[in-house]
């Protein structure tokens, strides 16, 4: 397997952490992984994104110009990264916050009520978990749900570990949609 993933959204939506979570889970399954955040001036604008590569082979560039998967947590992110998707790639978008529809017809599209699901379970801040749960249902090769849940112990900061019950519930709920 070889996936090149961009996770994008507002600052505070946990997109950098979502990328790290997938990396740690896949790493612990023995896969090659890399993670690189957008940094500097770009992050001052309120949007954040990271490039994640998960592969059975050693990774060349950690930067992803043509992703196979885009997770868009808000509209500006969808507008920015939808055009960059590889033909046949997967666009997973947060339909709780994005009213618009994707424009391309040569890609696979999954709408997930990420913020809505997270709110129902207990915290809108877990919307990133909904996106990952749904992604893993569509692309189980990236990492197993068990590995992701285990990786929460490392990826989530100490002070936020108390939210891991919510994180796991959101992951499960989105995964079983």
């Amino acid at each position: 397997m070889h996936e090149e993933i961009i996770v994008a959204g507002f600052g505070g939506q946990g997109v950098i952490m979502a990328g790290k979570l997938m990396c740690i889970a896949a790493m612990n399954e023995g896969k090659h992984v890399s993670h690189i955040p957008s940094y500097g001036a770009e992050m001052r604008g309120g949007t954040a994104n990271c490039s994640v590569v998960i592969s059975d082979d050693p990774i060349g560039s950690p930067v992803v110009p043509e992703p196979t998967v885009v997770i868009a947590m808000n509209l500006p992110s969808m507008r920015k990264f939808e055009p960059r998707l590889k033909k046949g790639g997967l666009l997973l978008y947060n339909s709780s916050l994005i009213d618009a529809k994707p424009e391309r017809d040569d890609i696979e599209v999954i709408a997930v009520e990420a913020t809505g699901i997270a709110e129902e379970v207990g915290s809108t801040r877990a919307a990133n978990m909904a996106a990952i749960g749904r992604l893993l249902a569509a692309k189980p090769d990236i990492a197993s749900m068990d590995s992701v849940k285990e990786a929460l112990k490392i990826a989530v900061s100490k002070r936020n570990q108390k939210f891991n019950d919510i994180n796991i519930k959101v992951l499960d709920k989105a995964h079983s949609l």
């Binding site: 940094y39 050693p58 990774i59």
Partner: protein, 350 residues
Amino acid sequence: MSDRILMKGNEAVGEAAIIAGCRHYFAYPITPQNEIPAYMAKRLPEVGGTFLQAESELAAINMVFGASAAGARVMTSSSSPGISLKQEGISYIAGAELPCVIVDMMRGGPGLGNIAGSQADYFQATRGGGNGDYRIIVLAPASVQELADITIEAFDLADEYRIPVMILGEGYLGQMSEPFSLPEPSGKTFEKPWALTGAKGRKPNIIASMRLTPENLLEEHNLKLKKTYDKITEKEVRYESYLLDDADYIIVAYGTSARISRSAIIELRKEGIKAGLFRPISLWPYPYKELKKAASHAKKVLTVEMSLGQMVEDVRLAVMDDEKVDFYGRTGGMLPESGEIIRRVRHYGS
């Protein structure tokens, strides 16, 4: 696999320095290496070390001079414009034969440029941006693991030869997180009878690059430095080769450019095109002889860099055949594209 952790390059270099016994670090913030000072600020007090945010890169490198003169294992880090400022101190440190480790996470230039990764400071690193006849060891890792491993090695090389060692990465390597295993300390120890420790029971030690009189004293000093440089050139060349044995086409690249080139080579091999990678790890001393030998049977040697063409000058010096040497580079913080490397190499065969 449980011993592998995911860490940013910038943080891995900090942890590796601490494992290597570095307890003094002086620096001034600059993107894209700010995680190094942040990491050291947090970790050094935990191990009884000293972190100090200096008032400038000039001050930082001269604090390194002082701490090294006092016998400590010491490090600083910066990125391109900051390294320009440090050149004064690097020249003095080299002249005074002091060991230290300098991390340069290069960014786009000239001037303020941008904050993306770049390899535009190869000349500055390998030719010396400071004044005088001097050399420093320059090591260029291509992964977070290698970055950590090289950091351990850098402190030993610095102490062994009493020379500044530069770890030359760039923004992408510093910002990237990859799985890696914490390196082991080398266990090597170095006596420093020359260090400033107070002259109890001995004549004073003097740390200085200056040799004012008599007339030939500086030349003598520089010839002594040259002997060290010759020894390093003989013993410390480092490179990696990948699928070179039967390669018709050799790609020469270091750091992140080498990672991308390696991906291109895998694709080319699938097409039956015999491409291979020569990756210099020590940029000074440069693996001239090894590259010359590797290139002798190749039809073409393509140098790939994130610059307008700097290392390619060393490749030409090694290969000594301008017809054979080609160059592909991206500049201003852009990454070379695997597709473009593949197209170029395909074209050589047609």
